[in-house]
């Protein structure tokens, strides 16, 4: 029953949604709670097929509010619980996630972005960046990994559970409909066999009695005075700022002498990478910068790139949601800024190459 879902390491060719299901199994996720929404559905489809074989559980809820809140219940009871959603479901998920932020509940959520606002399209976008990093009535005490390939979807889904349980901030794997539905190759593996330690979950509710004595736990999200709240939030902010440097991840290349650095995240960064390589081949000085964590944002890292280059070109399948994070992060920089924004639509290397050439 509970033997390891993956033995050793193997190369597979599958959809991103299947990848997520495998990764959650590999990360020893105990239970998934979910509500259908395209393009996330197949995570549940694969999970419901595989989970029972490994003693894992699933609950289909009545909506995303419930999927989010049941996930929080699962986590509170000391289980590695997760959910997945997209678009309008992500909008609704902000209510439970705001509770997770306030109560430091290490929930894991996979987002497969689709077109917005509203129902829009069920296909693809990068328009859920603002909401995933700073949604709800709070201050963004969250961690957001933006993946770009199936290998990363696998790696970061596993990592998300570790990050969440270690730092106790709700953690998101932010992908998109393309990553969800496309097939490409990757290696899947058992993380522990690879030396990746899996952080152990701990119960808040239902912790067993110690020496026959049970110390009841009382957790809440409501405070009676403004000052109580300020004290709590100030503590959280300190925690967040302290762990941020440990969490931040990014990628860059060819930035040292670049005239234009293409800044992009997620699946768009694949096209950006190709474009920069192409431009370099043509002898044009392009560079590549990609935040992997959108929250915390690799601001210092981008700033030092900005200090070296003439222009940052922000490329996104949204109207500048990542660019906003970047600009606030490197405020004070006088680097030129240009944009290639296509909300809800994929971006190709060719378009980026053309855009960069127009800037040079």
């Amino acid at each position: 029953m509970s033997e390891k879902p993956i033995q050793g390491e193997k190369r597979v060719f599958m959809t991103g949604n299947e990848v997520v299901a495998w990764a959650a199994l590999a990360a020893k996720a105990d239970i998934m709670y979910g509500y259908p929404i395209t393009p996330q559905n197949e995570i549940m489809h694969y999970w419901t097929r595989m989970a029972p074989k490994f003693g894992r559980k699933f609950l289909q809820t009545e909506d995303e509010l419930s999927a989010g809140f049941t996930t929080l219940g699962g986590v509170l009871s000391g289980r590695k619980a997760f959910t997945a959603t997209a678009g309008p479901g992500n909008t609704l998920m902000q209510e439970p996630l705001s509770m997770a932020e306030m109560m430091r509940i290490p929930s894991v959520v996979v987002i497969q972005q689709r077109g917005g606002p509203s129902t829009a399209t069920v296909i693809y976008s990068q328009q859920e960046v603002t909401m995933t990093t700073f949604g709800g009535n709070g201050e963004g005490f969250r961690i957001v990994y933006s993946t770009s390939s199936h290998q990363e979807l696998f790696d970061y889904t596993i990592k998300a559970f570790n990050t969440a349980w270690k730092y106790r901030f709700p953690t998101f794997v932010l992908a998109d409909g393309y990553q969800a539905k496309m097939r490409e190759s990757l290696s899947i593996y058992d993380p522990e066999e690879k030396g990746i330690e899996l952080v152990k979950p701990e119960a808040a509710i239902g912790k067993p009695a110690v020496d026959g004595k049970k110390e009841p736990v009382h957790v809440r999200n409501t405070y009676n005075t403004e000052e109580e709240l300020l004290a709590v939030l100030t503590g959280y902010m300190e925690d967040y700022q302290k762990c941020a440097p440990e969490i931040i991840e990014y990628q860059e290349f060819d930035c040292d002498d670049a005239d234009v650095v293409v800044v992009s995240h997620g699946v768009v960064s694949r096209a950006a990478k190709g474009a920069v390589q192409e431009l370099r081949k043509e002898g044009l000085k392009a560079g590549f910068f990609r935040p992997v964590t959108l929250r915390p944002f690799p601001a210092d890292q981008l700033r030092s790139v900005a200090d070296k280059t003439k222009t940052l070109l922000f490329v996104e399948s949204a109207f500048g949601q990542m660019a906003k994070l970047a600009k606030e992060g490197i405020f004070g920089s006088t680097v030129n800024v240009d944009t290639l924004f296509k909300p809800g639509v994929g971006i190709t290397s060719e378009e980026i190459v053309a855009k960069v050439k127009g800037l040079l």
């Binding site: 060719f13 395209t38 393009p39 399209t121 069920v122 296909i123 390939s149 409909g177 393309y178 990553q179 539905k181 496309m182 097939r183 490409e184 190759s185 699946v267 768009v268 694949r270 096209a271 990478k273 190709g274 474009a275 390589q277 192409e278 081949k281 994929g346 971006i347 190709t348 290397s349 060719e350 378009e351």
Partner: protein
């Protein structure tokens, strides 16, 4: 970066373009190449044209969708109209010669235009069921993205369990590949 080969396959719901794309992608993957396949999807897929986007190369593929393809294969009148947008001067545009009433819609800007009698071949020579395998043969011939052997192996992997029960099916499928390749050769 060696450019990846970009393939768009489009047809009606029952024509099996998605499985063709998937099998080719898996075959390429087995050959150790980088393959990325994504179907189109939307809310109105019910009666819509089904399009498969497939890219095969030596390095990780960039954007999962593309603006123009190296080869576009269209298997119905609606598919022809739907896929015109993926064609430019470097594109090989393949369509089934049995499709009626699309004369005006064939993208004349294509680098090459090939009409192949896949429907007819499947009906008369082989079996309607292997229509999509003929298409697969046509695609691998037109693109060389995978070897014929690898294509056979991929089909074997996918349909092997059926072949066990009915070995004639294997032969039929393999023949379909070969015929598909020939059709393209002839059309060129």
């Amino acid at each position: 970066m060696a450019k990846a080969i970009k393939i768009a396959l489009a047809g009606e719901g029952g024509q099996g373009v998605q499985s063709v794309a998937q099998i080719i992608a898996e075959a390429a993957n087995e050959e150790g190449r980088e393959a990325l396949y994504i179907p189109n999807f939307g809310v109105e897929q019910r009666g819509g044209v089904s399009v498969a986007f497939l890219q095969i190369g030596e390095e990780q593929i960039g954007s999962p969708k593309f603006q123009t393809a190296d080869i576009v294969v269209a298997l119905s009148d609606r598919a022809v109209r739907r896929t015109r947008q993926y064609v430019d001067g470097n594109t090989t545009f393949v369509y089934d010669s049995s499709i009626e009433g699309v004369e005006k819609d064939i993208p004349q800007n294509a680098g090459r235009i090939l009409a192949i009698p896949a429907v007819e071949t499947s009906r008369t020579e082989l079996h309607p069921r292997v229509f999509n395998i003929i298409i697969m043969g046509a695609v691998i011939k037109a693109t060389n993205v995978v070897s014929e052997d690898q294509a056979r192996a991929a089909i074997e992997k996918k349909l092997g369990y059926k072949f066990e029960q009915n070995p004639k099916l294997r032969e039929l499928n393999f023949k379909a590949i070969t015929r598909g390749m020939e059709l393209v050769e002839k059309a060129q």
